[in-house]
């Protein structure tokens, strides 16, 4: 019932001498929207490709719906929808012809959903794919991945070429289609403000390793900026074990910590003989701090 849709254990990938991914252990529960953030080259696309079985892991394991990713049976593959960063649309076709072609490959096709989304997203289905803009191609390729009602939708930078209005419509639809908790979404992005809206789980990838994974709420509560003000000069280096960055100037200091909990405040306040106030950080700041 409640088994993980995606799970990896100690997953690693080395190509030649380059270590692309290292010791990735994550799990995705049904109905979640997982957002993966990381700098260019952090390993996001490689991770998604291994999860989907496009290439094997060098070490550790990756499973989808309880099956090894690299040897997925066809019926499991049919439960997955994937939108790659570089679409594989056929330029000679119109949007509609492309969708019909893909529909024919699947046993089941939700024509009503695709018709509705095509209109909501203003995808010119009658136009030749060669003449579509980057954003239109992206939307079409998302439609192509949604038609067979996949239980797991994997999107690699799905909104990169969409304008703000189209992005918001896209996010809205992502909430709609996951609201019943029967679909799970995994997507990578650079646009952290989108994650703040729609993701419930966040994975932060840095140089091939997961530096943070868990609920967005918890990330926002754990990584915070502290403002510290004392009556007398503070030590030049604050004794904070999980400090990501700090600045001390006389009796005042600010620091960003990664494992904050409200219980620590009184303790810290007493230790430093100072007042400690907590400032929340936006996800973009958190992302930058986790890379400091």
């Amino acid at each position: 019932m409640n088994e993980a849709i995606v799970s990896t254990c100690g997953l690693g990938k080395t190509i030649g001498r380059k270590e692309i991914l290292r010791d990735v252990t994550v799990e995705v529960a049904p109905g979640s929207i997982v957002g993966i953030i990381g700098k260019n080259g952090a390993g996001k696309t490689t991770l998604l490709e291994i999860l989907l079985g496009f290439s094997p892991a060098t070490s550790g394991s990756a499973q989808l719906f309880g099956h090894d990713s690299f040897t997925l049976p066809a019926n499991i593959k049919g439960r997955i929808g994937f939108v790659p960063q570089q679409d594989d649309l056929v330029n000679l076709l119109t949007g509609r012809q492309q969708l019909d072609l893909i529909a024919a490959l699947h046993g089941h096709w939700n024509a009503a959903l695709i018709e509705r989304l095509g209109q909501a997203w203003e995808v010119p289905l009658e136009r030749g794919i060669l003449n579509l803009s980057g954003g239109e191609r992206q939307k079409l390729s998302t439609l192509a991945a949604l038609g067979h009602d996949p239980q797991l939708l994997v999107l690699d930078e799905p909104v990169a070429s969409l304008d703000p209005i189209a992005r918001r419509r896209f996010l809205h639809e992502m909430i709609e289609i996951t609201a019943e908790r029967t679909r799970t979404v995994l997507f990578s992005t650079h646009i952290v403000s989108d994650l703040e809206r729609v993701a419930d789980q966040i994975w932060v990838l840095r140089d091939g390793a997961i530096v943070w994974s868990g609920p967005l709420d918890r990330l926002q509560e754990s990584v915070v900026r502290l403002r510290i003000s004392a009556r007398t000069a503070l030590p030049a280096l604050l004794p904070l074990a999980d400090c990501l960055s700090q600045r001390v100037s006389g009796a005042r200091a600010s620091a960003v910590v990664s494992g904050w909990s409200e219980q620590r405040r009184a303790q810290l306040s007493e230790l430093l003989g100072a007042e400690v106030s907590v400032e929340p950080l936006g996800l973009e700041d958190i992302f930058v701090e986790l890379h400091s």
Binding site: L171, A179, D217, S277, G282, D285
Partner: protein
């Protein structure tokens, strides 16, 4: 077609750094305290809030669940959640705890503007008087 959409009940700011469930909880508590939401009032469903504001439903249902635990909301089988009939007032420290984040922000701003505590208190008293009418 017909009805105009109801005005938005909540102000949710995903970019503020404050988890959305906390924003929602604070707003419901305040609206109940100010009498804007009265016992029996139906709240929009998790799905309605999630789609209307384009935010993840998990954080909304977390807020509703925690407010239910606090005794502020009542879960009704197959029907929308409502504001609970009798709500516990909570002890003074508990109620103060609820305004702590706002007070902290206020203190920070007051420091920057070099306002004295007495000046600020006077101002707050005046505002609270006015609110009472």
């Amino acid at each position: 077609m017909g009805n105009l959409p109801a005005p938005r009940l909540f102000t949710l700011q995903p970019g503020s750094g404050v988890p959305i469930y906390l924003q929602l909880m604070q707003q419901v508590r305040r609206m109940v305290a100010s009498g804007q939401l009265t016992p029996g009032t139906e709240l929009p469903s998790v799905r309605e809030v999630a789609t209307e504001y384009t935010v993840n439903p998990t954080t909304i249902s977390k807020a509703y669940g925690l407010l239910e635990n606090e005794g502020l909301l009542q879960r009704n089988r197959g029907k929308p959640m409502t504001i609970a009939a009798t709500r516990p007032a909570g002890s003074l420290p508990q109620r103060l705890k609820q305004v702590e984040p706002q007070v902290e922000a206020l203190v920070l701003a007051a420091r920057q503007l070099e306002l004295k505590a007495s000046e600020l208190c006077q101002f707050i008293e005046k505002k609270m008087e006015k609110n009472r009418e």
